[in-house]
Amino acid sequence: MTAYLLKRLIIAALTLVLASMVVFAVMEILPGDPARLMLGLNASADQIEVLRNQMGLNAPLILRYLHWAGGLLSLDFGRSYTYSVPVIDLVRERVAVSLPLALIALALSTLIAIPVGVFSASRQGRAGDTLAMGAAQLGVAVPNFWFALMLIYLFAVWLRLVPAGGFPGWNAGIWVALKSLILPAVALALPQAAILGRVARSALIEVLNEDYIRTARAKGLPYHAVLWRHALRNAMIPVLTILGLQFAFLLAGTIIIENVFYLPGLGRLIFQAITQRDLIVVESIVMLLVAAVIVINLLVDFSYAIVDPRLRGRQ
């Protein structure tokens, strides 16, 4: 187990180094001068030079990479060109929105998907299954910004139960803040739940056809006990894999939903930073996300061992 852990950690570190090079190189290749963007059309060439020097953009590429990467090692993520505040402060503000949102959406999607998956699998081919999987198909197919807008019109414009968008900040009170995350979380969760539900169903159907399920039934265990205790647990591995992927996506890939609900999340920060050529912000945040994905994958690997005792002894 220790050797396995060590190997995984070394691979993770190598991935980070490689990713830092790729991210840095890609951002440098992008055309566009951050100084010109900040100073606008009326600025003179020497003004732009002054600003470029101030931002350290005139130093050689390698030096800038080493400076940035060295900073990352000591957890110094640099300063944003446009906002002129430390990147880590920006990230902290945005994570306070994105992380709770991702967690709520993930919880919602799991709470919906697992029961639906179990329900469908246990009624395979019957009307209930067809209906549930039809709904799931719809959930996958409907574009989420459209779905989000429908939610807004229904719950914010018509019923006025929640705000149409925006995030008042956690200082405004937990309930007020949560209220503004409900619709985006639902809009994010339903398509995810649809995918997850289908995966859960097919994994479960496969397990239900195994011999040991028949044995368990034959020894007199009631159907629901077999389904929930023996079958579901064995079907969890593909479900957990998808969950891990979805969580990574929810952390930063939610730019469309963040735009529709004008939430100040990580996805929008990255998008904004790319259009403004705030290179250091993009580079540092992407690295943080790479790290987050690696950690999530490690956690998923460990969780396999928890649901499946056979994996604990291996490697």
């Binding site: 566009g32 001068d33 009326n42 600025a43 920006l90 006025r160 968008g165 100040p264 999340g265 920060l269």
Partner: protein
């Protein structure tokens, strides 16, 4: 469901009735599309900085009003020397910055010297370059000396980048703007909203609003429900696009279409063959149909223009008829240029609806005279470096939103690559002319030269689509400068 709604509506109504019985509202939430990168108008070109801070947080010596006219602001009066080189400003007394420090002539000297300093990052630095000396004669008097008469000097002092900042607070303005205005910054939740509150110590007429929140709504689709739900009560310029009709038919809202300073033009690289030939540019001007472009690129709301001048400004001359839409004539021009079989070129389009939508219409219109355009979509950063800085383009569509900017055609090295000595002389004369009637006459001549010489094809003036609660008064109709001046905004019942 229906019952629910009735109950909720009743509750909302009784609540509204209860509050309105006491007093009119004093808070306002406005939607803005782009978040300002920071809040120091003297250190960044982003229009959103001025939208939030101009006249609300920061004030200049003069200010520009809703109609584009120069008004007194921190300077209560001024005198100009006979040679037009020395301006003596008399300042208001009793003015305080938001941090409590007193405003005086020293702050004016500091602000102007800072803007024209060698390492200045002021986005309008070239304008300040004409200042040769600033002297604080006494705490309430400032003398500004110029290198020559500047016809537009008082106007320039009212621009967003010319606001007066405090000597002791200027360096922190990006995050904590300290001005002299009727509002001060309460808090800025980055990515989300900027909240201003009334400045109780304001020297002039106090604002009617106690609190104003600028909420960032980047998505056009989100803007409409935000308005309908009442979360946002005003958009100075709404990214409405196709949804405008929906809001227009709703009596709860006022929709006010105003003018901006945004001349939307088909810019031409005047040095690049075949566009260096006048006949080719004339062919382009004759081939385009402004009506169709305006319908597609601005929902039919933009005003057609025939030169680089806003129809809302004094001195405007209607030159839209110089090259009327005429395919036959356009083909003749091409023939004259020896290109009767047409040619191919590229058009680089920045990521704004007016450019992307307008570009497609222009592509199909030019196809009629045998000019094949290849559309290249670019983002702003690419546009700035490829088109604006490196002049690597044939055609592009862009809106020039700077006010009074007809002089850009005389700037050496500007991306149009247009060089007309006659026009340059005219602008030089204009710069040094102080007499208003003479200025308007010169401006008219400048417009005519551009209209006939076609250094760019003039399309339309970008509209300002103001949408706000019908009970709200005092919002700007026009955008002579991009500012959401809230000093006179109030709720009525």
């Amino acid at each position: 469901m229906k019952l629910w709604k009735t109950i909720l509506a009743a509750a909302a109504l009784s609540l509204a009735a209860a509050t309105s019985a006491f007093a009119a509202r004093t808070d306002l939430t406005l939607g803005i599309v782009l978040e300002p990168p920071h809040l120091d108008p003297t250190a960044g070109a982003a229009a959103a900085i001025g939208e939030v801070t101009y006249a609300n947080v920061f004030e200049g010596l003069t200010r520009i009003d809703d109609n584009g006219q120069v008004q007194a602001a921190l300077a209560e009066s001024w005198a100009v020397s006979d040679d037009g080189k020395i301006y003596t400003f008399k300042l208001h007394s009793g003015v305080k910055f938001h941090d409590g420090s007193a405003f005086s002539a020293d702050d004016v000297k500091f602000s102007l010297d800072r803007a024209r300093a060698k390492d200045s990052l002021n986005p309008q630095k070239p304008l300040f370059a004409h200042i040769t000396d600033v002297t604080a004669v006494d705490p309430a008097t400032v003398k500004v000396t110029l290198d020559g008469p500047q016809g537009n000097f008082l106007y320039d002092m009212g621009l967003v980048a010319a606001v007066i900042v405090g000597k002791g607070s200027a360096d922190g303005n990006k995050d904590k703007p300290i001005g002299t205005g009727p509002f001060k910054l309460d808090h800025w939740a980055k990515g989300s909203e900027i909240t201003l509150v009334k400045n109780p110590d304001y020297w002039g007429t106090p604002a009617a609003l106690d609190k104003a929140t600028f909420r960032i709504v980047p998505d056009a689709a989100a803007a409409v429900p935000a308005l309908l739900s009442g979360d946002i009560q005003a958009f100075a310029n709404m990214p409405a696009q196709d949804a405008l009709a929906q809001v227009q038919s709703d009596p709860r809202f006022s929709v006010v279409i105003g003018a901006t300073e945004g001349e939307t033009i088909l810019s031409i690289n005047n040095k690049k063959p075949p566009f260096d030939k006048l006949a080719v540019r004339q062919a382009l001007a004759s081939a385009i149909d402004r009506g169709a472009i305006i319908a597609a690129a601005s929902n039919g709301l933009g005003k057609p223009i025939g030169s680089h001048f806003s129809p809302g400004d004094a001195g405007y001359v209607d030159l839209t008829g110089v090259y009327p839409h005429d395919i036959v004539k356009a083909k003749e021009y091409l023939k004259e240029a020896g290109l009767e079989n047409g040619f191919s070129a590229t058009i680089k389009l920045p990521p704004v609806p007016y450019a992307r939508d307008g570009g497609q219409v222009i592509q199909s219109q030019l196809k009629d005279i045998g000019v094949n355009l290849q559309i290249i979509p670019v983002e702003w950063a690419e546009w700035l470096s490829q088109v604006f800085t490196n002049k690597d383009y044939d055609l592009t569509i862009v809106s020039h939103v700077e006010p009074n900017d007809i002089d850009i055609y005389s700037r050496p090295g500007y991306y149009f690559q247009y060089d007309n000595p006659k026009f340059n002389d005219l602008i030089k004369e204009l710069d040094t002319t102080v007499d208003n009637d003479k200025r308007l006459e010169l401006l008219g001549e400048a417009q005519k030269i551009l209209a006939h010489d076609v250094p760019a094809v003039y399309l339309f003036e970008l509209p300002k689509i103001g949408v706000w609660d019908a009970k709200l008064q005092g919002m700007w109709t026009n955008w002579p400068i991009e500012a959401d001046d809230l000093t006179k905004v109030k709720w009525t019942d």
